[in-house]
Each structure stands twice: as structure tokens, then as C-alpha cells.
Amino acid sequence: MTESPGFLNYTGPVDYNRIDLLLNDLKESPGFMTINKVTGRRVYAIVVECLENIIKYSAKESTGKLNIEPAISVIKRNNKIIIKSGNFVDAYRTDKIIQKIDEINSLDNDALDLMFEKQINKTNEKNDNGAGLGLIMMKLKSGNKIAFNVIRLKEGYSYLELTISVNEYLP
């Protein structure tokens, strides 16, 4: 197994300014510059969705007892780019997200395209955190199932870690 470091590795608070900085770091990383542009664009798109999900869905842990920060990393292993992101989520929301991921993972590309079309044509709802399209897009762009790991914590929180493996595009 070969692993090339040098894409992205960050642990800490995430806001929109931080997203800009992290995306610049990603684009300028030695690893990113060695992959082809199509793969690079797909990795970039998935990293954006992961970082925005951290902002949209992170639980506001106020007790200070759970000293775990959001994190994102991008590495290349063999012929895949592995994107891993993790953050606190309110426990009540965790099950909904897992259910959605399981549903997306169970669909083939044609069924996923239909799901995407149905979702994108839904009327926008006020206070809707996002379009609900991010997870679908992650699977479509990566070509692989979304892996996840949930650590159930006390105080009504979970730590949700997503792992998305992106196949290298072969022209």
C-alpha cells in the first residue's frame, strides 16, 4: 500500500473564512498538483461539501467537557483520494444523517440520479440548512459508497466521521 501525504490535514474550528483558507491550502498542496484536473475538481467539490456540512450540522457543544474539534483530511492511498471529515452532531440528528447515507449507499447511479433530480426540484423551504444534495453529490462524484463512523458520546452528542474515497479519473 502506498500513501502520499501532502493534500490537507486540519483540526480546529471551521467558519466560512477558514473554508477559504483550507481550500487554498488544498489547491496549493503538492499532492493536489499531481492528480489530474478532473479528479482534482471532484476532490475539491467533496471537500467543500464536507466543510460546509461541518458548519451547517455541527452541534454547539457548550459544556466544554467534550474537547474534540472538527477535523478534515485528504490523502492519496494507492489510486484513490481519501477524504475524511468529522464533527460533533446532536444525537437526534445523527440517526437522520445515517439513514440518509444508508439510503444513498443502497442506490445505483441511475437511481441516485433520479433522487438528485427529485431533490433539486423540491421547493426551497425557509430555514432549510442546505439543499439536501450534498451527500448525493458526494457519492456521484466519488464513484464509491460513503463510509461513516459514529461515536456516541454523553450529553446528547455524537461524533460523526465520514470517509469518501474518490476514484482517480482515467480519461
Partner: protein
């Protein structure tokens, strides 16, 4: 009819809608922190423009919207589709409104998503393939 000009930033596209000079363009990267607010302004302008066209005494078409994104996030996709549906409804009213969808020569995904949005909006796009220097080939 007023212009709508929004400067491009690191996370939001530039918008240049100028009926006086017959220039209508959105270009850049679209992942603004508040996607609904950003696109509500654009779609609101298009609604006003639609009313202006239907009541206009002197405006000479055609109206060509150039969509030249190098990236947009999934939240923006929904609004870009809404925008294209609005342009389709302009056409349905008899206006000569079209969309030119720009994509980099090697950006197979941007071309594909353009085709999908065109199909869903029921509006044929003209596709503009850009060379690596950013100019149409």
C-alpha cells in the same frame, strides 16, 4: 431597467446584468455563505426584467445569459436550476432568451451538469468550450 452588478469574491460569482449594453453574465465560483440570499437577488432581478421585457417599448433582444462557472456547490445548483427555469419561462412568453453554458475544455463534469440542468429546465443551452486560457475555442 436597472443593472445588477455584483463583484466576484473568493466564494461567490460575479454578476453582470446590464440591459443597456446587452450583457448578461454570471461567472466564477459559487459557494456563498448565504446561498438563498445571493440567488434571491438574481432571481428577483430576472423577475423584474421579465416584466420590463413584456412592457418594454424599445428593448431589442436577443437576451443571451452567459453562465460561466468554474465550480458551484450543491446548494447553488438548486438556484442555478431555478434561474434557468425562469429563462425558459421567458422563452415560453416569446422572448428570444438563451443560455450559453461555458465550461473548460477538460471539465467533463461541468459539461455534464450543464446538460442535466438544460434537460430539467427544458431549455436548450448553447455550450461554449473554453481553452486553457479561458477564451472560447
Amino acid at each position: 431597467m436597472r443593472k445588477l452588478i455584483v463583484n466576484r469574491t473568493s466564494n461567490s460569482p460575479g454578476v453582470y446584468f446590464d440591459p443597456d449594453n446587452n450583457r448578461f453574465e454570471i461567472s466564477g465560483e459559487s459557494r456563498p455563505p448565504n446561498v438563498p440570499a445571493f440567488y434571491d437577488e438574481i432571481i428577483g432581478w430576472l423577475n423584474d426584467f421579465s416584466s420590463y421585457l413584456s412592457g418594454s417599448r424599445g428593448y431589442k433582444g436577443p437576451v443571451e445569459f452567459n453562465l460561466d462557472f468554474n465550480y458551484f456547490n450543491s446548494s447553488s445548483a438548486k438556484y442555478i436550476l431555478d434561474f434557468c427555469k425562469q429563462v425558459a419561462s421567458l422563452r415560453a412568453k416569446g422572448e428570444n432568451a438563451t443560455i450559453k453554458w461555458h465550461y473548460e475544455a477538460d471539465d467533463v463534469d461541468m459539461l455534464e451538469v450543464g446538460r442535466e440542468i438544460s434537460r430539467m429546465a427544458r431549455l436548450p443551452f448553447e455550450y461554449v468550450r473554453k481553452g486553457f486560457d479561458g477564451t472560447p475555442e
